[in-house]
Amino acid sequence: MGMMEGRWEEGFVTTTLEQAINWARQGSLWPMTFGLACCAIEMMATGASRYDIDRFGAGAFRATPRQADLMIVAGTVNFKMADRVRRLYHQMPEPKFVIAMGACTCGGGPYYKYGYNVVKGVDLVVPVDVYVPGCPPRPEALLEGLMRVQDKVRAMKDLTKGQPLNLPVPKRTGSVLLPEELATPEKALEFQTKNKEQAKPSKA
């Protein structure tokens, strides 16, 4: 409970009401059961035991938009479906969040040029909070996207200001652990020149 600022004193914890609400809200984002294409398979994998989205409190996939507060748009949205997506979004109670999962929903993906019936990004239909690229994204990527939504929830100032004020700064973005020979720029340059030297055809 690191975010609960305050101090422990005889079994009491002090915090602001807003933070407590946000804490509760971020831990129970209920997504809507809503898969449009192949990304939905990956979404299901995220919900299943190996990746277990329930660890983040978002495992209760609701079969109705009225009980959901997170819409994971998993899959290609075509024009015929766009009307339905928009309607489902409007049926969700506030506060609501949208994850655009996969290349198709981020910007049309492989259908960008020749897909006459594909919406070039679901952000043309509903406002998107977090984009998760990939074709399809790994379950880890979707979990990362969920964490970004949680960051956004945590930054909400619903009670005092009415709206979330500051946009979430990614707090948990991991940096890639590089191998020893590439760890610093100097080492990387040395590695590169050495490689080039090796790649030269011998004139023997």
Partner: protein, 176 residues
């Protein structure tokens, strides 16, 4: 029965209705006159030597080279084809029937070419014809329920036509 024999039977029975044929392909075919399609299909289905009791598929093919520079070398005049793939469970043979249509009825752009529906002969034809209508723009006369099957009901145009123009906007959503 071999395709050559089937073609021979059709030739004998219908004569000039068979407008074209090709034997040296994987799927030998004949093309027939559009006006006599129902008659030919009924014969193919009911004749005891043929018994084509299964309609595998109906496809629409648009032959058009949209690039004017390549058009002379394309090797075909712009036209539309409807292809019927038939099989027989009884005799275990297959056959392909083609219709060669103008791209537009009477040469007026926007007027869809008309083909008699074979729904009454093979119930399978219902959805296949709806799909061909939806994507290729062939009007099947006598079809019980000719609506779009894949695209939205208020869609404009037929996307698998080679000269189809992508929508710029649909229900307030930018198209490209």
């Amino acid at each position: 029965m071999s395709p050559a024999e089937i073609i021979a039977i059709l030739d004998e029975r219908f004569g000039p209705v068979v407008t074209g044929k090709k034997l040296d392909t994987i799927d030998p075919w004949v093309s027939v006159d559009v006006g006599r399609l129902l008659e030919v299909c009924r014969f193919l289905r009911d004749d005891p030597r043929l018994r084509f009791d299964l309609l595998n598929c109906i496809s629409g093919v648009d032959y058009l080279e949209p690039d004017p520079k390549k058009a002379p070398k394309a090797g075909f005049e712009p036209h539309l084809e409807v292809v019927y793939h038939l099989s027989s469970f009884t005799h275990r043979h297959r056959f392909v029937l083609k219709l060669i249509l103008p791209r537009w009825k009477d040469g007026v752009a926007g007027q869809l070419p008309e083909v008699p529906s074979v729904c009454g002969l093979w119930a399978t034809a219902d959805w296949h014809e709806r799909e061909t209508f939806d994507l290729c723009g062939v009007l099947f006369t006598g079809h019980p329920d000719l609506r779009r099957i894949l695209l939205a009901e208020d869609w404009e145009g037929h996307p698998l036509r080679k000269d189809y123009e992508f929508p710029l906007e649909y229900h307030g959503i930018r198209g490209r």
